[in-house]
Subunit: 152 residues, 2 copies
DNA sequence: TTTGTCTTGCGACCCTGTCCCATTATAGTC
DNA sequence: GACTATAATGGGACAGGGTCGCAAGACAAA
């Protein structure tokens, strides 16, 4: 696990260097937080709080800038669950993401399920002349723990 | 077209009355704007601008309140295309919406396509114990006019 | 060491949206 | 029509998330 983390970190360092950018301590701390919370779908604010523990002097703007940078580098992905905050998630490779989200309307938990759309995109491209580069699917409802509770 | 509009307006008036609420001139103006721009996916700000033309003295807060009210009454639906603003769309009936969106990354145009998920929800409910009440699907890419242009 | 560039932290600021509150409009009753 | 209770309004203050400009700091290359 730890070697994998270091490996990924080196990989990102190279990505940055290729663009004449640096993996500064602040950026490294941010990446580490994201790597250590891959299942978390953290918001920028949450990332900021966690990074503060590693690097107390870091500024909020730096975290935002780093997240934006990582999105541009396609290292992470910016997600939108409709709760008013942007959330971030690692991208396993350079592909568009192909998993989908189950969003619980009671507890807010977000879990992931495999891709469902299969070759549907091809049909849409043909029928609508629309060149698809990515898709987002979210199912809203109640997770197994919250079934029958209604909205919080 | 105009009779249909009046009919819908009466329908909404009744809905409001059933809750001891009134269809005030401000609310009526807001509903009219929404009815006249059913394909527009208007943001609150856009609705406000258009309503101002009909009723120049209306306040922004009133428009927001009216939109929220109409969402509660399930007359309209609040949509989120990830561009940082809420958008609103009429609901044809009392069902959860079952059409999906094609969002063009170049010109921002949003078009609609029919429901794609069919009975997929049942499978997910079984497999994940997740009680689904709605779903959102968006495909991102380039519409027929913008193909090959890349992001704006 | 010097220089140029990338980064940073900070605070000001922007934007969408909500809240509070005093005032006004409305429907229902007499 | 007058009265009353309640719904609704406009305006401004405010909140949360996020961006921007800028002066200062860190770093790599020469």
């Amino acid at each position: 696990m730890d070697e994998k983390l270091m490996e990924r970190l080196q990989q990102i360092r190279k990505l940055l260097h290729a663009e004449q950018l640096k993996l500064t301590p602040q950026r490294e701390a941010t990446v580490r937080v994201l790597l250590e919370n891959q299942e978390g779908h953290l918001s920028a604010e949450e990332v900021f709080m966690l990074v503060k523990q590693k690097a107390p002097d870091i500024g909020l703007a730096t975290v935002y800038r780093t997240l934006e940078l990582l999105v541009d580098l396609r290292v992470i992905e910016k997600l939108n669950f409709g709760d008013g905050v942007a959330r971030y998630e690692f991208r396993e490779n350079d592909q568009p993401h192909h998993h989908h989200h189950l969003i619980c309307l009671n507890c807010g938990r977000v879990s992931e399920i495999e891709d469902l759309l299969g070759d549907l995109e091809k049909k849409i491209e043909e029928r609508h002349g629309f060149q698809i580069t990515d898709h987002r699917v979210s199912f809203l409802g109640y997770c197994s723990r919250c079934r029958g509770k209604g909205p919080a």
